[in-house]
Assembly symmetry: C2
Homo-oligomer: 349 residues x 2
């Protein structure tokens, strides 16, 4: 999984350490794969490995130039009003794809007005819908939101387009990515979406359910079994172990039931967060109410499943989460083009 | 100049495209070097190429592990009070090593109280002193300031040390870098300083004054000659073409003479900024008063040299600055260790 965002399109095939090792052409001796019933049980419960190829969007086919342009724009602070905030500010690739605070902080140090926690960008491609209230269908559309949102990057379409157009290097990048140097807001966010589609993190869990019984430890497997048996997989399923829309807990006075705008905008539905890299993405819940993963698991058992998990069960489930820690793609930090005399000036107010 | 921060210590020798190409072992035909009088004139005026080896500090010898640890800490937002601000926030390696705003913005969206502009971290190692008022002698000492400064990262020594100590991966990093896993604030900033010592950017100007007459264009050479003849080199000299302390313009009512705390703290002295990558580091002056490089050159002529530069002279000097655009070291964006239950929690207030 090294250098994906920079390597050739052939590297779109994820021929890495997880699964399908026959393809690897690795000469060293490998441990024979031993199948276990739990592998099938996990798949029957709807858990899926990360696919071998990046997931493309029809109409936004991936190519190296587009992914590289998307990376630059993902780290580009000058498309924000202040010139200080980029996508990476709240979805920091260094820290699990999140910012680690309970509510996102944006332009003018403004906290998200609904006290919503920044979801991770890693594996976000595997979610059915984007945003906590699921209002956008894909990453390309999602990227259009925070750039313009007042409490986030506080920009305008004009600032974004004028900023990009002011730097000749970006015009070449657009030409290489899209076949035309015409800069539009939609194309900029398509490139960002393309880059984000490469931010997938295969884990030992993937290796395991694809047939390598040695990839997970005994306690991790116990945790996986409890995770399935207790019904966690009724929401946390699919490739992301999450990512689909679920009914928001219909609870009145409950510290975790800060409804945000779910009730009005999304018919009471909220997106189930991915559990991949969950040990890196505290604090938890849509409102970042707690930093403690064990507490989080207990609360979910109570509020979503109506059961009381024992400390032993919780600790094994958390051990299983360790097997979901994924390998991050190697990202070379971009050197962005220099501003020119026509680049819009920052406005920090 | 690729992968310096990650490659072996032998790569501390900068065997790159600038100068001394005999060492390169390059098999392809090279243009014969032609010496020109301007090369000697530039050297006589005190202009120096970037040295072949990274500049080390006695007591903080460089090694790969220390440079890599320093890189992680340079990008580590969790050592700030909010967990949102890192060294890279104001000294962004993607945008010339600066933030592009006139006065640095830190914790709580607070502007620098003296309205001081963030200097670039690239080639900062070549400055005689650190900070605009020159109060610190080197990068290691400088790094101790902004982390604790209320309007910047707003942290405490305790937060920094406790945060680092809470993640086992960092203890291994400290052991590899310093021979002991003991974490201290001083060692953390020594590692950051070590990383910053690798952030040097050889340019066509370096290739030129080391004997390759083809490395600069005719107009760039004209600009260099004007730059010397007009006396710009009396302050902008050395490897950094800047970096030494000079008397602050003794002007009463003048829009660029926002004295900050220079008068009290530094005896009226201010550090001359480096001109390397100057086309990437707008806005200009210690208070970021203007974004226009031509205007900046004109004002400097008037206020510092007492001369009026013609538009033609200014445009040639600015052309010369193009030859100071340096190649940036390739930096792999770090994947930082996951927080643990003992990691101090963010405080955005």
């Amino acid at each position: 999984m090294k250098n994906i965002a920079l390597s050739s399109v052939t590297a779109l095939l994820l021929l890495s350490s997880f699964g399908c090792s026959e393809k690897g052409g690795d000469t060293k001796e490998e441990t024979p794969k031993v199948s276990e019933p739990l592998m099938e049980k996990a798949k029957s419960a709807g858990l899926l490995p990360i696919p071998e190829k990046f997931v493309e969007k029809v109409g936004n086919e991936l190519n190296d130039a587009k992914i590289e342009l998307g990376k630059k724009l993902y780290f580009e602070p000058r498309i924000s009003k202040s010139n200080l905030i980029s996508c990476n500010t709240c979805h920091n690739l260094a820290t699990g794809g999140v910012d680690g605070v309970s509510a996102a902080i944006g332009h003018g140090w403004t906290a998200n007005p609904h006290h919503l926690n920044s979801p991770t960008v890693y594996n976000a491609v595997f979610a059915d819908r984007q945003f906590w209230d699921g209002r956008d269908p894909d990453l390309e559309k999602q990227a259009q939101g925070p750039i313009l949102a007042g409490p986030e990057m506080a920009s305008t379409v004009e600032i974004v387009v004028d900023t990009i157009k002011s730097m000749p290097e970006y015009l070449i990048d657009f030409k290489n990515a899209f076949g035309s140097s015409e800069v539009t807001y939609e194309k900029a966010t398509m490139a960002i979406g393309a880059f984000e589609r490469t931010l997938v993190t295969p884990s030992r869990f993937d290796t395991y359910i694809q047939g390598d019984s040695t990839a997970m430890t005994g306690v991790e497997k116990e945790g996986l079994e409890i995770f399935i048996d207790k019904g966690c997989t009724s929401c946390h399923n699919g490739v992301a172990l999450g990512g689909s829309m679920q009914l928001f807990p219909a609870i009145g006075e409950f510290k975790y039931a800060n409804l945000g705008d779910f009730k009005g905008n999304a018919g009471g539905m909220v997106k189930t967060p991915t559990l991949r890299n969950i040990l890196e993405t505290a604090p938890y819940f849509h409102n970042g109410a707690t930093f403690d993963i064990s507490e989080t698991v207990k609360i979910m058992g109570e509020t979503q499943l109506g059961i009381k998990l024992s400390d032993d069960e919780v600790s094994k489930i958390v051990a299983f989460f360790g097997a979901l820690e994924g390998e991050k793609p190697e990202v070379t930090y971009p050197v962005l083009p220099a501003s020119t005399s026509t680049t819009p000036k920052p406005d920090v107010n």
